[in-house]
Symmetry: C2
Subunit: 283 residues, 2 copies
């Protein structure tokens, strides 16, 4: 079993894969579209990409790719807590509180804003393409007195020493990752799930006001709970959007099927991205 | 009259200001929060920042700042067509189709993807913080055979020569800019407006399913048309959102007032960002 994920090694996506599928062969890809293509062309059995962060919101590249391209369905989601640590090269261990530069992904730097402001005011912050890339860079420059902000796996992988644990400002920060795989591939996460959900994308008829209200009515009177509704540009001009909706039930429920059928009868286009179980990891 | 805008000079925000307010003194700020702070502290009479692009979607920094901070109201929106041109230093004019590097903002590079793929395949693309910064950099390095992708104003401002006009892939691409100003400041754009709108932000009660449907119902049965609804994370945990809603009417309409009153009675928190006219510029 082979899993393609958004690399490099030791990203938070890598953590999601290792927690959910400890026995698969993991293949790192450079971009989110590369992950989608790899599973579509069956280079890998499944692809794992980030979908939404509690602070930054949806990952638009993932959302837009799901809408505009034909892909295998979403077969699972994995929710991972985002825990950031400050780490240095072992050669710099004694001087860690005098670091001159701190490297990380811009989101990670933002997530540790208060800590950095209090403990490292005035230190140069440098943006890297991922937290793992920052850790790798620090490991390759042992002579420089600098630190990376990254996860525990990156510290292990790149032989860095964690000097301050859990420096992120908010404890509730999580990221949702999705697992895409063809229907004939058996997906067996080594976690237990608490609930099942369905994600659909809806394009409203352009010529009628109040269409979104009609769509929500189809769910509301059936008491089908929606956990998310988000608009994204259709890329055909200002004011044209599609909607991504998360339904807290499986598509197999007759009421969900009927609601979707009726939404289509109203003139909406509906794309079902998948019905899948949601898994939480402890770290 | 002083207008603070997202700089440097010759950004698309600068174009928006020059088109709408040709006679004001323009003051460039480095970041969107700096523009907000400048108008809040009355360093300037109004602030102009980007709010939404037809291809890339909302500018999250602007949306989040409008939600989380107390600001002067939105007093106008300015919609500007996004026209990208390829430009070089006059010293490199004869060799422009052999450029080795092309510099621009990542969104501009993405907006000219097809052109670049067809005419400059293999040429290094370099990301800059704005299209204007790319033009400035090219102007400062006359000896290098490189080009910038930027707007007409940047070519003028930094004395660059446009070698290919309108290289953007889609003609319908526009950006919405908003004008923030205190209520006692008189805003007189030199454009004519076609319509008025109201923008509100709504936080739903956390303990009740179907609340968004109720909110939309309050507008739907009154036949109040909504031109946009978008969710953003509340930054309190996955699955918690607020909603930004654009209403195609002024808040002065009794029906709009009543709808908002009822939404508040349902337990929602409503923040009214402003009722304002929408202005389109030709270029």
């Amino acid at each position: 079993m082979r899993a393609g994920y958004l690399g490099p090694k030791a990203t938070f996506t890598d953590i999601a894969v290792q927690n959910a599928f400890p026995d698969v062969e993991r293949i790192a890809y450079t971009t989110i579209p590369d992950c989608f293509k790899a599973v579509k062309n069956k280079e890998v059995d499944m692809a794992i990409v980030p979908f939404e962060n509690a602070l930054e919101g949806s990952v638009h590249l993932t959302t837009d790719y799901l809408f505009h391209e034909t892909n295998p369905p979403i077969r699972a989601e994995i929710i991972v807590p985002i825990q950031q640590h400050l780490m240095v090269h072992p050669m710099q261990y004694n001087k860690w509180n005098e670091v001159e530069r701190i490297l990380s992904h811009p989101h990670a730097l933002a997530q540790c804003h208060k800590f950095l402001h209090q403990q490292f005011r005035g230190v140069t912050l440098e943006q890297m393409t991922s937290t793992a890339a920052a850790a790798k860079y620090v490991s390759e420059h042992p002579e420089s007195n600098m630190a990376a902000i990254a996860n525990e796996l990156a510290a292990e992988k790149y032989n860095l020493q964690i000097v301050k644990e859990n420096i992120h400002d908010y404890d509730f920060n999580h990221t949702r990752f999705i697992v895409l795989a063809h229907n004939d591939t058996e997906i067996l996460p080594s976690l237990t799930s608490t609930y099942e959900k369905t994600t659909i994308m809806v394009t409203l008829p352009s010529d009628r006001a109040g269409s979104l209200h009609q769509v929500l009515s189809a769910f509301a009177w059936r008491k089908i709970n929606l956990s998310k509704i988000e608009s994204r540009p259709l890329k055909t001009g200002l004011g044209h959007y599609f909607f991504m909706i998360d339904i807290n039930q499986t598509y197999e429920d007759q009421l969900v099927k009927n609601a979707i059928e009726e939404i289509e009868s109203l003139g909406c286009q509906v794309k079902i991205l998948g019905s899948y179980f949601s898994y939480h990891t402890q770290k």
